[in-house]
Symmetry: C2
Subunit: 216 residues, 2 copies
């Protein structure tokens, strides 16, 4: 039995919060981190196209350099792990082809048999949208991955913080992402809350159920 109960799920989602102070001495175990990477890999996306890479920054010196371009937020250096959610720049028909080839390989079917699916994706993304619209589409998918990351960490009992308050251009420069054909969208850090993080004890604030859920 690998499912969780609803009480467990809600307990963990209540437990999670945007951790401001991480305990720099407490690291996520290697097997737990591997599982989180695998959870990211498994994220759902439009057509399954996965227009992203997840950049895990492990070098402490580089992470320290990211602090000033993250409004001084220390999580960037202090959390156990940092992931830059990056989009593939110049996402092209070749990326669609790579995906079709991957389907063919995983499912042991001829790539030719996927021509209609390929054409449908090309039609939607390249005939139906310009580069700016494709970028927005890709960013949307990346936020699915961020949502998955936050929930996956929470159910494992690992703290996290989503971070939009960063300078993505400076991130790209410091990490050399441009040369990898990538652009920073958003950041997620994970680890364990510091005992001194005063935000941990604050009541979680959400609008009331009736103000968020509309039933028709």
């Amino acid at each position: 039995m690998s499912t969780i109960t609803r009480e467990q799920l809600l307990h963990q989602l209540q437990w999670r919060y945007a951790t401001k102070q991480f305990d720099p001495a407490r690291k996520i175990s290697a097997p737990d981190w591997s599982a989180l990477e695998e959870a990211l890999v498994l994220t759902a996306s439009s057509f399954g196209l996965q227009p992203w890479k997840f950049v895990v920054v492990t070098d402490p010196a580089q992470r320290e350099k990211l602090v000033p371009v993250s409004w001084g937020q220390r999580q960037v250096a202090d959390a156990s792990h940092l992931v830059v959610f990056a989009l593939k720049k110049n996402f092209s028909e070749a990326d669609v082809k790579a995906y079709v080839d991957r389907i063919a390989s995983v499912r042991s079917i001829p790539a030719d048999s996927l021509a209609p699916y390929n054409d449908m994706m090309i039609g939607s993304l390249f005939k139906g949208r310009d580069a700016a619209a494709r970028k927005i589409w890709a960013i949307n998918q990346i936020y699915i991955a961020l949502g998955n990351f936050l929930t996956s960490t929470a159910v494992l009992g690992i703290d996290s913080c989503p971070m939009e308050g960063i300078d993505p251009v400076k991130y790209d420069e410091i990490l050399g992402l441009d040369a990898l054909g990538l652009a920073t969208v958003v950041v997620g850090v994970a680890g364990y809350r510091a005992a001194t993080d005063k935000y941990a004890a604050l009541k979680k604030v959400r609008f009331e159920h009736k103000d968020v859920i509309v039933t028709l």
Copy 2:
């Protein structure tokens, strides 16, 4: 102990897939659905501002009307539950104030003490961005909710399908969302896979770990 093991998490994320055929006879139990609504309410968002509503469409006649404006995809009518992830149109400084008031109420502190936080949010969202940029910001947050929804359903053992292939303008018309100050962004359906869904047996396709995870 309410956390899940990494094996459970990965098993459930492997188990989930974009369900194409739902069993129309199998409904999500009321307590399970309540938990999923609560999971949605608990979704993280930028500053905690929750620029969304989740519209649960229960009327079968309305759901049937949504099928033709969803490229004929029957999930919209056949799945146990359908949620329209909608943004608050004309998101304004009043929405920020409502949130600040909510923080004050939940945490029993004077709203005045949150003036610096209020000003920071106003600066970022209203001085730093125009309406188009705010809309993109709101949509990004909504995709966090979609990611949370997909992972939350998966760990509960409930099938789901994210649906971008819909006509959002027609959704707004059919559901009367405009009058509620809402606009459709994306749809999520949930329920239980039909025994006849041939997609259930297909191998999940993701790029290889080395092509998705970059370690620096």
